[in-house]
């Protein structure tokens, strides 16, 4: 499943870029994220509770950052397993565009594959759920980064 959209963030490109590489901020913004630990500057392990229709599962997996072009773009990819609930893998190409000194547009291009019980039971719900989750992530990311910048942190 593929989707793409963009999010306008009231912060400088550099601030957005820093946040994109900050596990604490990512953890706050990923819906259902229980933990996110950085094992190297480009590798993280995450635990996320994910729910599609009747299936709810805790996914454990790896997140990798690649194709880094600071402060313009990177590729964030992950794959995780939810045990009997199934598995998910995919990633997003993230690109930042400065609209002004304090406004950045974050473009994202997501490609996700879902397998196992999640796909069997949730086929008709996956698209809308994934869209919703991606929307939630980038929306709260925008808010958190905006707030952080406004607070002058």
């Amino acid at each position: 499943m593929q989707m793409n959209d963009s999010q306008r963030i009231p912060a400088s490109k550099e601030a957005v870029w820093a946040a994109l590489n900050d596990p604490e901020i990512l953890k706050q913004c990923i819906p259902g994220c229980q933990s996110l630990d950085m094992s190297s500057p480009t590798e993280m392990t995450a635990t996320v509770v994910f729910k599609v229709g009747p299936v709810k599962a805790t996914f454990g997996g790896k997140v990798t950052l690649s194709d880094l072009d600071p402060p313009n773009s990177y590729q964030i990819s992950g794959e995780g397993s939810g045990g009997v609930a199934g598995f998910a893998k995919g990633g997003a190409a993230v690109r930042l565009e400065a609209e002004g000194p304090d406004v950045t547009v974050l473009h994202y291009d997501v490609d996700v594959q879902i397998g196992g019980k999640l796909a069997q039971l949730g086929a008709r719900l996956i698209d809308s759920t994934a869209r919703k989750l991606a929307g939630e992530f980038f929306k709260s990311f925008g808010e958190v980064v905006g707030k952080t910048v406004a607070a002058g942190v």
Binding site: G115, G116, K117, Q120
Partner: protein, 806 residues
């Protein structure tokens, strides 16, 4: 005679024999919720097993870690392929001559494949245990599209078959190839096509679907270590076959295996084969010394135990300009999934698909079938049809409509022109069958008159004209279907399962007071055998059906039978019942002659006993003969009154029928409305017209489901995306159309009572009727063939592709 003497009619009515609309005796318990199904069985100390299943369609299994699972309270064991290897049961033979993994051995080949079996004190604990088994997979590229399975660079699915260029049914052409099966005269057929004035060619797909009985597959296995005996209660359509399979693969002597099929909540082909759940439950019981229950849930049933169809049939007909068919050529790509787990008679890798010449007099035909492996669930079973017969009927009935369209002929007229004529029976088809009896023209004309076919065509023409003028957005279709089935497998000369000839059997034992018990080798899953089998006996020996108890499903008491599927019960077991009853009557005649002090030949049968020819007052009822059988048999005769018959049918039977579906479709929404569905069935002698009608209603409902939406669909990654009744179309009373039923009677000449079997006819004939109705509706807009299933969305899409929204 006084007034109390019952009349002949009253005596006959009392029997409730053949032809009587006798109410189903089994319904007394079923309608009160008092049936006894496998899941009702609760044995002391019984454990529960459930599967860890693969989320991947194709992956290597790197590691299975059960450490945490074994810590879950209640979990006693986690069985894997490694465990099963110690008893040589990691793989099992399939009925189609292939082998199948019981539990994933090194890799998984379809989503939801069985990977490990968790045994626990209850089902909840087993489920918690499953969640704690950690399986490490390495995903591999998948093959889902059957048309890509034999690409040169297609991933190798069955590594266990590496280097094997020959399978159970001859040479293999490719690493994902199972078999090639050819029938008919290729040269003659090719010549017919070269000379043909008109030809059609179309790839007609019969999509993947599933029998989905309301009761899923399940069993309870209990191994008694002291006696060395294994008891298995299961949802088996063929309990004796299961017993023999278990004896062969588990090396337990067959007399120490007790297989019992209790009440079964629908089978439709799903419960013929042997599944990993049975093996794992048996092994778990042997390992733990406790009874072990395994019950599939709905997702498991839809995604793992046998699917049906997935046949892709490239079909060509050669014909004259006038519409006389001169040749048929069919190539089938048969998708079997990960393992060839068809439940066909051993010598028939594509079942009886060579019935594909249908009801028509094709002078020549040629058929080839290529079976292939893909990363989908293994199968495919005969879902409410004799082996691959519904595929064949759909193929030829759709193709005849396509030919009619090309010729500009009416589809009914084209059929009438090409039918095998009544005087041609017994008819030898170009693909090798001997049709026993038929009168197709009479059946077809009766259907056309009953529904006013000509009037419906006039209405359709008016509707089309109105559509073209923009006055309506509804289009109207007439779906004509005339099918010939081949059922009643089968004669020992060409039908066996694992080397056992496909006979069937009956044992009748009459008690002194004139009641009796009949034990039969078939196994009802809702067909009403307890009712109809007693009716056959009632007519044959003159004992009221109510006084005959019918028992099936216990391999310790029932004579060996091959079970119930492929509409074989009436053609084979029904014949055995009649033959056993006739043996009873023959002995009864000797007893009556002795008691009446006449010669046997001086007696004649009269409804419920014998009478002396010319002396109508001198009679002896069967009830009295039963008593005499236990106290005063002729000198030299053994007492008692019982008989056994094992019946090896001389031929298959060939039921047929004429169906029509009248449908309107709204092109803007794709919503269809079945306005009328008329089904005329000829199943030969009719044992119980009410049960026949019920069978036709049920079969038509399944046909409706399949044609109009029921599908097992996979995405490109091999995920089953129709894994529950939310996505898999299961019609309820709300969606189901009204059915009109009718009949003609053309008895089978070789069957003792002339019956042919009916349970599957409506599915076989119904699917093409629905599909032809949809295709007929769209045909005037320039469409030739729209693939099934015809759900609203696909109808809308078909309309869109035909440009009606321009």
């Amino acid at each position: 005679m006084n007034d109390m003497t019952p009349t002949r009619e009253q005596r006959e009515a009392k029997l409730e024999g053949m032809g009587c609309k006798r109410k189903r005796v089994e319904d007394i318990r079923f309608t009160q919720g008092k049936g006894s199904y496998v899941d009702d069985l609760k044995l002391p100390g019984m454990l529960h097993g459930d599967f860890v299943r693969s989320p991947h369609a194709h992956a290597r299994v790197k590691k299975i870690d059960d450490t945490e699972a074994l810590k879950v309270p209640g979990v006693l064991a986690v069985i894997t392929a490694e465990t099963l290897k110690t008893v040589n049961l990691a793989w099992m033979p399939t009925l189609a001559g292939d082998v199948q993994m019981v539990l994933a051995d090194g890799k998984v080949l379809f989503q939801n494949q069985e990977v490990a079996f968790v045994v626990a004190t209850d089902r909840y604990a087993a489920d918690d245990g499953i969640n704690k088994v950690v399986v490490e997979y390495e995903p591999l590229p998948v093959v889902i599209d059957p048309f890509k399975a034999m690409d040169a660079d297609a991933p190798v699915l069955r590594e266990d078959l590496a280097g094997k260029t020959t399978g159970a049914h001859g040479p293999r052409k490719h690493h994902n190839h199972v078999f090639e099966w050819t029938v008919g005269d290729k040269d003659l057929t090719d010549a017919a096509f070269r000379k043909a004035e008109v030809t059609i060619k179309e790839m007609i797909s019969y999509h993947r679907t599933h029998p989905s009985p309301l009761e899923t597959c399940q069993c309870v296995c209990s191994f008694d270590k002291i006696r060395g005996e294994l008891s298995i209660w299961g949802t088996f359509q063929a309990p004796h076959v299961i017993r023999t399979v278990v004896a062969l693969i588990a090396k337990i002597p067959e007399h120490k295996i007790h297989v019992i099929s209790p009440d079964i909540g629908g089978g439709f082909g799903n419960k013929v084969g042997a599944y990993p759940g049975y093996i794992c439950a048996a092994v778990a019981s042997i390992v733990t010394g406790k009874p072990v229950k395994w019950v599939e849930d709905r997702i498991e049933n839809l995604t793992a135990t046998s699917f049906a169809r997935d046949y892709h049939m490239t079909t060509e007909i050669a014909s004259t300009k006038e519409g006389k068919v001169t040749g048929l050529r069919v190539h089938v790509l048969a998708d079997h999934g990960a393992f060839d787990a068809c439940a066909d008679p051993s010598k028939w890798p594509a079942g009886f698909f060579n019935i594909v010449t249908g009801s028509y007099d094709f002078p020549t035909a040629h058929l080839s079938v290529d079976g292939i492996y893909t990363n989908k669930a293994p199968g495919g079973v005969a879902y409410r049809c004799s082996f691959r017969v519904t595929e064949a009927a759909y193929c030829i009935e759709r193709a005849m409509d396509i030919l009619a369209q090309k010729l500009g002929m009416d589809p009914a007229e084209l059929r009438l022109k090409n039918f095998i004529k009544a005087e041609q029976f017994p008819y030898h088809s170009a693909l090798g069958w001997e049709y026993d009896s038929g009168d197709y023209h009479t059946a077809m004309r009766k259907m056309m008159e009953s529904v006013d076919y000509a009037g419906l065509r006039r209405e359709q023409a008016a509707q089309r004209a109105a559509f073209k003028r923009g006055e309506t957005r509804e289009i109207m279709g007439l779906g004509v279907s005339f099918f010939t089935e081949i059922v009643g497998a089968g004669p020992s000369k060409n039908c066996d399962i694992l080397g056992i000839a496909m006979f069937d059997s009956c044992e009748i034992r009459m008690h002194p007071t004139g009641a009796g018990i009949a034990r039969v080798g078939s196994k009802s899953q809702g067909q009403g055998h307890e009712t109809t089998w007693a009716q056959i006996i009632a007519t044959e020996i003159g004992i009221p059906a109510d006084d005959i108890m019918v028992e099936e499903g216990n391999t310790d008491t029932a004579p060996y039978g091959l079970g119930t599927y492929g509409s074989r019960s009436t053609p084979v077991a029904g014949a055995a019942i009649a033959m056993a009853a006739r043996k009873i009557r023959a002995k009864a005649q000797m007893i009556a002659a002795y008691k009446l002090e006449v010669h046997e030949d001086d007696l004649e049968w009269d409804i419920d006993g014998f009478r002396v020819k010319g002396l109508p007052e001198k009679t002896m009822s069967m009830k009295d003969i039963c008593w005499a059988a236990y106290n005063s048999v002729p000198p030299g005769m053994e007492p008692g009154l019982e008989a056994v018959s094992y019946y090896d049918p001389p031929n298959m039977t060939y039921p047929f029928g004429a169906y029509i579906c009248v449908m309107n479709i709204d092109v803007d929404t794709g919503v269809y409305k079945v306005r009328r569905f008329y089904a005329l069935d000829d199943c030969g002698t009719r044992i119980n017209p009410m049960i026949i009608e019920g069978q036709v209603h049920g079969g038509l409902t399944e046909a409706f489901a399949i044609a109009m939406g029921q599908e097992i669909r996979y995405d490109d990654e091999g995920n089953v995306v129709t894994g529950s009744f939310m996505d898999f179309f299961m019609p309820t009373a709300v969606e189901t159309p009204h059915w009109e039923t009718d009949f003609t009677v053309t008895p089978s000449p070789h069957h003792p009572i002339g019956a042919k079997g009916v349970g599957e006819s409506p599915n076989v004939g119904g699917v093409p009727a629905f599909s032809n109705a949809v295709n007929d509706a769209f045909s005037f807009l320039g469409s030739t063939h729209i693939q099934m299933p015809h759900d609203y969305w696909r109808n809308w899409k078909a309309a869109k592709n035909l440009g009606v929204f321009a």
